[in-house]
Symmetry: C2
Subunit: 501 residues, 2 copies
């Protein structure tokens, strides 16, 4: 290996390790940190963040990158070194294009924004949040102009989360989905065979839920020698290298679904990180390709596996042995139906598989309108409520249950919501390919054999780390570009059966 | 404030916060880190360590320091700014005097050393450890020469742990202690009224021990909104700012003392850190003055408080309510006697108050002889065993129970052991001053009122952070230099009573 390539790798390995250290600070903040330490933790994270930014954007790093680009000239387009340098260039350019003053201003406004948002939501007072939101959209608009884009200002933003994907891609995706989703939602609402989900509500003691969820995530392939499960208010997955990938969950002692499906979801993210190649560790190719691809993994395990009839029949006897009283008068089929109940509802994070994407669609449309100035922030609540009625047939009684429900905008995460839907669509498209490659997949799942599926994902998704752009990866793994087709086929077949449509 | 002083403070605040982040990585490694993450964690710690070293020794930091020294010229000797800059200078000089190659070599040899030590101890094979130890003493000798010293090579080493203290100070301290300690140990061994400690052995379920230790440390003043207790193989205290000071302990379900006194010991360290002034946060004046002063706080709470008759009478009813069966046939006085049993033994960390300092004395003498070449590494086991026999009247049956018992030397911690004894002596000297200021202290403790004592320590020790050298601090807090007198008086009175000498 050339000296300059070696120096480049050493520099980015150091940046990667410092980023992992910063990750641990974040994990600890949400799990074990004493409440009194909040200010100190903020200072520690700021110091490490500043350090990372300084190293990541320094002339020295820029020179190492330029030298590395010279060193790889002529190497095959598909080689790890070429891709490694290319990802580094993408990150470096993004970081150096933003003026430090703007980055600082956004960071400061994020801290304020989150705080004001939490108070406004609590007080159900959109007017309190409006000026903060307006300023956040201004700042984000400025950052988009610095980053640059070809067609639509939204392109510059989604690029942060889903490299190589444009607003036009997202618009096409939702245009494909929208009519079918709205129609399916309405058909289910009119079904003569509604779903009874009382089996999920009862007494499910936390200790037994802990044991159950841990045994389920271990069974599906989450490696607990390189991971662990803790409790946090909002379930998340955090990784500090492929060998330290932790999940969190929360337990509702009166409702079984919360912890079980959140655990499978986070384990899906975690297995993706654990499957990142050892050779990519400490390079720009480690970890997942994008938020959307990440979400395809979590959703695949949560929904395509976890809410399948096969899985429900496998897991039910375990549930019954942990909760013999609560499940005394139920069976696996009732459990399967219950975990697949469809109800148009107000809150995105509680939405079922069918209606979920209507929530993200609505947010995407509103973000575009706010960014381009078609919609004023003061008119946002009305626009929100009108779309909720049109797409889901429900109107939020309060802004707290409507436009104020998500934290994302308050911390500048604009261009983020579509990645949830990309993940949903991709989960079904991957599932279709996996099923074609593994004809006995359903039977395997019914017998608790998850290795073949995980193996397929390891080979076709995880093994690439973040070497390829999401679009390239989807093509490699499924042989076609991402579309809504597999997802709509999956939903239609499944819910036609459940609701006897 | 002058600009240069402000820039100096900002730089050292950043260094301090990065050091705290590194601390969290270490804490996590010993508490919650999955086993598979060991290599990744080592890389993260190395990256952060390298970063800290680079910033801490950079020309830019050196220039900020020089400018700050100019800015404080003429300010009173006792001002915070003067002291802050002086501590920074001490640290900077120490860090820059050591060649990077030597620092790296010691770090590398420490990793090897710890591993070989653990295996040699397990195999009871000193010959396996000898070459590693020899090289470690060589490297440490080289670092001492780089750091410089006036009289004795040991001075350069103890300076790392106990600034301003010399080998001559330590020799004087042990010369004062040795004859009296040996005599007291022998008198106790010949006592006609031995101590029965069976009350401490029995069934003490871990869950109840957890509840008890947590309630005890909270009662003595450990602030759990700025701290927490976790389980670790070796109890320790780790702090990442004054507002995040964590302790760990371990529980032996068959032996009550382990967790109770380890928790009080670590809480003593923790309260010192929690008492560091808020104004010193992020400066070189935060935290404790030295390892010795730190140990005075842990030992004071563990021994002077925790093993006092007053405390035992206060805590006993709580013990009895947690462990009604195990303590059915005992009482507070029996408990008091049991926790003060004196037995010359092989292992330092299990030693009682009386014999403990003979263990550290022996290590100090051997370290000096090894450093100056009076003793060869190959002759170390014999020298160890001969001194054990002379001072404690016991001879280790194996090297694992003798010269191989402590990890310190394998990781280059030479010059460290005396700080344990400095802590013991100082704990008694502080106690004497506190008792003079608080005539009802004993009664207060008997009633579970620990605030007055903690208040006295806050004012007379904690409030100074690391502003003063240990010698200055001792003078301020107790009005006299450190000596063995208070400690020997305390031991003699207490054990004359217990053993009817």
């Amino acid at each position: 290996m050339s000296d300059s390539l070696q120096e480049f790798k050493a520099r980015f390995a150091m940046i990667s390790r410092l980023g992992q250290a910063a990750g641990l600070l974040g994990w600890d903040q949400q799990t074990y940190m004493p409440s009194g330490a909040a200010m100190a933790r903020a200072e520690q994270m700021a110091a490490l963040g500043q350090m990372l930014h300084e190293i990541g954007t320094s002339d020295e790093t820029g020179n190492l990158l330029t030298a590395a680009e010279a060193a790889i000239a002529g190497q095959p387009e598909d080689s790890d070194d070429v891709r490694m340098v290319r990802v580094a260039r993408r990150e470096f350019d993004k970081a150096t294009k933003l003026p430090v003053a703007l980055v600082t201003e956004i960071a400061r406004h994020t801290a304020i924004g989150q705080d004001v948002w939490a108070r406004a939501r609590h007080a159900n007072d959109f007017a309190m949040f409006a000026p903060v939101l307006e300023k956040m959209f201004d700042l984000v608009r400025q950052s988009a102009e610095c980053l640059g884009y070809k067609d639509h200002i939204y392109d510059a933003l989604i690029e942060n989360f889903e490299p190589g994907t444009t607003a036009a891609d997202v618009a096409t995706m939702f245009a494909e989905l929208k009519p079918d989703l709205v129609a399916l939602t309405q058909a289910i609402a009119q079904s003569k065979r509604p779903v009874d989900d009382r089996v999920l509500h009862g007494d499910f003691p936390t200790e037994q839920q802990k044991a159950l969820t841990l045994s389920v995530v271990a069974a599906i392939g989450y490696d607990l020698t390189r991971g662990r499960q803790d409790i946090a208010e909002h379930p998340f997955c955090a990784n500090f290298s492929r060998d330290d990938v932790r999940i969190t969950t929360r337990f509702d002692p009166k409702f079984l679904n919360q912890a079980l499906y959140a655990s499978m979801h986070e384990a899906g993210h975690a297995m993706y990180e654990q499957g990142s190649p050892a050779a990519y560790e400490g390079t720009t190719l480690s970890g997942g390709a994008s938020l959307g691809v990440h979400e395809s993994q979590s959703r695949l395990w949560e929904n395509l596996v976890g809410r399948s009839r096969a899985f429900c029949h496998w897991v039910y006897p375990q549930l019954k042995s942990q909760f013999p009283d609560a499940l005394a008068h139920s069976d696996a089929e009732a459990f399967y139906r219950a975990v697949n109940k469809v109800t148009p509802s107000l809150i995105r994070v509680e939405a079922d598989e069918v209606t979920y994407n209507l929530h993200t669609l609505l947010r995407f449309e509103l973000e575009c309108d706010l960014l381009t100035g078609t919609l004023a922030v003061t008119d946002l609540p009305d626009a929100w409520n009108a779309r909720m009625e049109a797409y889901l047939g429900v109107t939020p009684p309060t802004n707290a249950d409507g436009v104020l429900q998500d934290v994302h905008w308050s911390c500048g995460l604009i261009g983020y919501f579509p990645t949830y839907s990309i993940g949903n669509l991709l989960s079904a498209q991957l599932w279709e390919s996996a099923t074609a490659a593994l004809p006995s997949l359903n039977t395997q799942i019914e017998h608790g054999e998850f290795d073949p599926l995980l193996g397929w994902l390891r080979t076709n998704v995880h093994a690439y780390g973040s070497k390829y752009l999401p679009k390239e990866l989807v093509l490699k793994a499924t042989g076609k570009p991402l579309s809504a087709r597999a997802y709509m086929d999956y939903l239609t077949a499944k819910y036609t059966d459940i609701y006897s449509l």
